[in-house]
């Protein structure tokens, strides 16, 4: 398949992730949406890597994956910690940092 088809899928997936991040109240689903966006980026990286015949894209995809793992670990830890102190997993109820 031509590369642009993969890119379109990647874009669509990224948009879906963005919509999830912006709309959902549950902090876990927001985190999952972030994972979707990261996966969309990985897909674009791999597509262009193939088009260019350059495996550096694979390396970066690998890094993105590692980053996503780290993000998930810390993000979920924060969720647990917040839930423990405030008994909530809703993003709109965690808004202490405001002017």
């Amino acid at each position: 398949m031509p590369t642009y088809a993969y890119i379109l899928v990647s874009l669509a997936l990224f948009f879906v992730g963005a919509a999830g991040v912006l709309l959902r109240r549950n902090v876990l689903i927001v985190l999952m949406s972030v994972e979707l966006q990261l996966a969309a980026g990985t897909l674009a990286l791999l597509s262009f890597s193939r088009a260019l015949g350059d495996q550096k894209g694979h390396v970066f995809a690998f890094f993105v994956m590692a980053l996503a793992a780290a993000e998930a670990a810390v993000g979920l830890a924060i969720v647990v910690s917040v839930f423990r102190t405030r008994r909530t997993a809703s993003l709109d109820e965690v808004n202490g940092l405001k002017g």
């Binding site: 590369t3 879906v16 959902r24 996966a39 791999l46 193939r50 550096k56 839930f83």
Partner: protein, 187 residues
């Protein structure tokens, strides 16, 4: 020769269609599920389909990693946390600031539309039109990507391992139980 190429392309097209449909459907399911457990399962579906797409891109190593790390490890982590903090929410979308966020979604939609239009418009350029696996030996295999990781990208590789270590320590610190009778060392 011509025929085999065509039929291979045919099979590839079908595989691509199924897999990308799986990815998008899984993504949509993920963000629409009310129950987080369902969302996690949809995410597993998405990632599995995505691993298939990676395979069609000759990214065998990354496809395997996708399954192992994402669909495996990270999803398990999610499931655990879902178990810990699961609260049924009455309203999946917060009312407060809905207008701003709706505009934000529209803006994201515009970005998607605009970039997609550009990609469609410029699909003739070689970068976007390329459709075959590049003539590189062992493209996307564990050995060739691994060789790259341990040669040219050794420093970033070590840096990212350090990042993971920091994330692990951070996760432990954040979720540690602070006992009431002992003063907290994390303030």
């Amino acid at each position: 020769m011509n025929l085999t190429a065509h039929s291979a392309s045919m099979a590839e097209t079908i595989a691509f269609a199924i897999l990308s449909a799986g990815v998008l459907a899984g993504g949509l399911l993920t963000i629409t599920r009310r129950n987080p457990v369902s969302a996690v399962m949809s995410l597993v579906l998405t990632f599995a389909a995505l691993a298939g797409l990676f395979a069609t891109l000759s990214a065998h190593f990354l496809a395997v990693l996708q399954i192992l790390v994402y669909a495996g490890a990270i999803m398990v982590l999610f499931v655990f946390v879902v178990m810990m903090v699961n609260r049924e929410e009455s309203t999946p979308i917060a009312r407060q600031g809905l207008c701003t966020r709706a505009v934000g979604v529209l803006a994201a939609g515009y970005v998607f539309y605009r970039v997609a239009w550009l990609v469609g418009h410029e699909r003739g350029m070689p970068l976007l039109a390329a459709s075959a696996t590049p003539p590189v030996k062992d493209f996307g295999t564990v050995s060739s990507v691994g060789a790259l990781l341990f040669s040219d990208f050794l420093f970033p590789f070590e840096a990212i391992s350090l990042l993971l270590l920091v994330a692990v320590i951070g996760g432990v610190m954040l979720t540690r139980h602070v006992r009431e009778d002992r003063p907290s060392r994390v303030s």
